[in-house]
Amino acid sequence: MNYSAELLELIEEFQDIDDKMERLEMVFDLADEVNLLPVEQWCDTTRVQGCQSEAHVKVEVLDSEVNFYAGADSKLVQGLMGILTMAIHGAKADLVLSLTPEFATEMGILNSLSPSRSNGFRNMFDKVMTEVKQQVD
């Protein structure tokens, strides 16, 4: 996989934590990494389906560089968005398109979450990928 150095470091950091609560704490902290999509811009096209909470994402590809904006009413979900931010924001579109949600599994965060939350992450990931692809094509 073509993980950025930053993402690789994050994966390792996560793997070092045994305690589930601490892992969740780290996810919470990453909520700050998100480039906030203002609540006024939340709408049907930005909504991530299948999330128990409200979760919204927006992608812009400028000069084949991905910009990622997001927001959620759950801090945990926003933390997941923070992780995705670190993985794709500012990265080249072709690099982004080579990603799979595997990296989140490797971090161990997906099995720290209820199935509905981890499905939510997958849905978010898929939505982002689809939109990147559309804007690249």
Binding site: D19, K20, M21, L24, E25, F28, Q52, S53, D73, S74, K75, L76, S112, L113, S114, R117
Partner: protein, 401 residues
């Protein structure tokens, strides 16, 4: 009084650890855990007696039939009822009333009374029937004090044919005044369906004495297996019910020109029944019969009251009042913290709570919220568990809120 420590030994799942911490199961209003006797009885059935029931000669079929029918006897005896129809749960039991009694005995322009406190399972079947038959649904409002507006109920009862009311709310734990409701309904010639999904596990219920016509509940919420429940019916209403689902076991004769049906409860039990489940449920009822339910209820209600006080002290909004007959259910909300986030953090240390709308959106609409965090206790919960819940919650709030 059995010590709760001893009582806990009956439940193997209470040995489970979650993320290295002992399971603290506080999601009992969703489903309860099962004692060994229930698990073992089903095991034994499948390992030694499994066969299809009714109309068969061989030994296993006899044992299976006896096992299945013993469940019906146990239900009738515990709840003092003349007729116990076995269904797949509360939801199917209510749908059975809608189809078997409602479609045959209601007509265009009739009214059904529901309450804003109903579970979706006691709303949607009636909405579907109302649409099909042009029936008016009248919802009794929930007041600020979380009780039903009995004045508006009395006003709404005129001309209503059926009252559907939840005995104990699964969100609030509030126990409704069902004797009073039945009395008013009967004075006005209306039938009464009790949704007893939450009361059957927590109270001793005398169906005949309450005087309701129908009572629906699920095994899985009272220490029994999934996939089975019951509808109790009094004789008068039973005689008015038309068959719902057709198939094996519910018929007397079938020809290509038409069929005749059984006269007893089997008329409403089409197909191979829930045999293993019935055998498990019988054991669950025996287990409940062996518990001094009044004392245990009082004990966990005390814990719930204490918990409510602690939560309020921490700045939570608590939705509940915890009167003597209410269930040990505590619904609450933190002013800022997302409920699912809270539940995830609780789960990290083994605390199982439920969040969301609890299948009671109209009630939440009335309370102007979209969900709660719900702690619901059962007889195997200890006060120590509730204390450790409060302690950990404080830790969470310090670190995350």
């Amino acid at each position: 009084m059995i010590e709760v420590k001893i009582l806990r030994e009956d439940f193997p799942i209470l040995q489970r650890e979650i993320n290295g911490y002992p399971l603290v199961y506080l999601d009992n209003a969703a489903t309860t855990q099962k004692p060994n006797s229930v698990i073992d009885a089903m095991n034994d059935y499948y390992s030694n007696s499994n066969a299809n029931v009714h109309r068969a000669v061989h030994t296993l079929a006899g044992e299976a039939t006896e096992g299945y029918e013993s469940c019906r006897r146990a239900l009738k005896s515990r709840f003092n009822a003349n007729k116990a129809i076995i269904t797949s749960g509360t939801t199917e039991a209510i749908n059975l009333v809608a189809h078997a009694w409602g479609r045959a005995n209601l007509s265009d322009g009739d009214a059904i009374i529901l309450t804003e406190m109903e579970h979706h399972s006691d709303i949607v079947p009636w909405q579907m029937l109302a649409q099909e038959m042009n029936i008016e649904l009248r919802y009794v409002p929930v007041q600020k004090d979380l009780t039903l507006d009995m004045e508006l109920f009395e006003a709404a009862i005129k001309g209503a044919k059926l009252v559907c009311v939840v005995h104990i709310s699964n969100v609030l734990g509030v126990c409704n005044p069902v004797e009073k409701i039945v009395e008013i309904a009967k004075q006005n010639g209306a039938r009464v369906l009790l949704d007893a999904a939450q009361s059957a596990p927590h109270q001793e219920i005398n169906f005949e004495q309450i005087g309701a016509d129908f009572m629906a509940f699920s095994a899985h919420k009272m220490c029994g297996p999934t996939g089975i429940g019951a509808l109790l019916v009094n004789d008068e209403s039973f005689d008015e019910m038309q068959p719902f689902m057709g198939g094996g076991d519910m018929i007397e004769t079938v020809s290509i020109h038409g069929s005749t049906y059984q006269k007893n409860e089997q008329k409403f039990e089409a197909g191979t029944p829930r045999i293993a489940e019935a055998i498990g449920w019988t054991e669950a009822i025996k287990w409940l019969n062996s518990v001094d339910i009044k004392i245990e209820h009082k004990r966990i209600l005390e814990s719930a009251r204490w918990l409510s006080g602690e939560l309020r002290r921490m700045g939570m909004t608590v939705y509940g009042r915890h009167d003597d007959n209410d269930a040990a259910v505590v619904s609450f909300l933190h002013p800022t913290m997302n409920s699912e986030d809270l539940a995830h953090l609780l789960d990290a240390r083994g605390f199982a709570v439920r969040t969301g709308h609890h299948c009671a959106q109209p009630l939440l609409d009335r309370l102007e919220i979209s969900g709660t965090v719900r702690v619901s206790l059962y007889f195997y919960n200890t006060h120590d568990e509730v204390v450790s819940f409060v302690n950990y919650l404080e830790e969470i709030l310090e670190r995350f809120a």
